[in-house]
């Protein structure tokens, strides 16, 4: 007989042996192999011990009102939980980590771009530009005053612009 552990897909034979569901011929054949194969013998012994333990285990009795209490508690949780908690739970169940990281990166980048001051004159589109004549004259007045201040007291005072 081919070793059930070594051969692919033959482990079921050992499981059937452990559950005593083999016919007498097959049972004898497996036992004969187990006598010769230490690996199969060890696997079968361990498996049968586990089953015997499970057979011995007895579940603790459930209290008669367990189900009623469980239903009441579920209903109570549903009423008292804030809306954001249920929304968060539904989000948390999904794999959002990469999306959140991307969103945060985009937000920070946009924020940074908004904070950077423009270094050059904004583009002027033909026909759309306007001029604030008051502002321009005020700027010329100030520059003129600064020029006079700069030249006053020097070798010669120049005329106003």
């Amino acid at each position: 007989m081919e070793c059930p552990i070594q051969a692919r897909g033959k482990k079921d034979l050992l499981l059937d042996y452990c559950s005593h569901s083999l016919d007498a011929g097959a049972m004898a054949e497996v036992e004969e192999h187990l006598a010769a194969c230490a690996e199969c013998k060890a696997w079968t012994t361990a498996h049968m011990r586990t089953w015997s333990l499970l057979d011995e285990w007895q579940a603790a009795p459930v209290s008669p009102d367990f189900e009623r209490k469980l239903r009441e508690r579920i209903a109570l949780e549903g009423e008292s939980a804030p809306w954001w908690k249920s929304v968060w739970q539904s989000f948390a169940a999904r794999p959002l980590k990469p999306a959140l990281s991307l969103a945060l990166a985009v937000l920070l980048l946009l924020g940074g771009l908004l904070l950077v001051r423009p270094r050059s004159a904004p583009p002027v589109h033909p026909g759309q530009e306007t001029i604030d004549a008051d502002r321009l004259e005020k700027a010329l007045d100030d520059v003129d005053l600064l020029r006079q201040v700069g030249s006053a007291g020097g070798s010669k005072d120049s005329e106003a612009m």
Binding site: L109, R119, E137, A139, L146, G150, A152
Partner: protein, 167 residues
């Protein structure tokens, strides 16, 4: 998506370094600082003659002629003088409206001083302009300074110091 996120995070790490390269070191507290960004004069200077003419043509003729003449006078100044004016004007622009108004009044008073006194103040202003801000402040507050200049002259020198960028 992981690659995209990595690229964005990379940009975030690089961007502040790139921005810092352009930035000047921050001026000491209270020191004159220049306002960034182009002035209305810079904008006009950057335009082509056609663009500028189109813009000025929108003004009433009399005003347009007056402005054109003043712009021409400004543009025919030596490049060095214009550069100095531009730097001073950038510093002046950074003042509050009240400070600007006060400075205008004091500058006008400076121009009206007797020539001899004006020269004394001009020399003092030149010396102040060569000092870094903390030393400039110390000199403006020194007893010698108080002794040499009247209260109005001291105000004028303070105003001149306020529009002179830190060396």
């Amino acid at each position: 998506m992981r690659a995209l996120t990595a690229v964005l995070w990379g940009l975030l790490l690089v961007a502040p370094v790139a921005a810092q390269e352009d930035d000047l070191p921050p001026p000491p507290a209270g020191a004159p600082r220049a306002l960034a960004g182009p002035t209305i004069l810079d904008r006009l200077e950057a335009m082509s003659p056609e663009q500028r003419q189109r813009l000025l043509d929108k003004l009433p003729p009399e005003r347009r002629q007056r402005i054109e003449a003043r712009l021409k006078a400004y543009e025919t100044l030596p490049a060095e003088e214009r550069d100095r004016l531009r730097r001073q004007y950038d510093t002046f622009r950074a003042l509050t409206p009240e400070q600007k108004q006060n400075a205008r009044r004091l500058f006008q008073r400076f121009i009206e001083l007797p020539p001899g006194r004006r020269q004394v103040l001009r020399r003092e202003a030149d010396q102040l302009s060569r000092l870094p801000w903390p030393r400039r402040q110390a000199r403006l507050g020194s007893p010698e300074f108080e002794h040499r200049f009247s209260p109005e002259e001291r105000q004028i020198l303070h105003a001149l110091a306020a529009i002179t960028p830190n060396p």
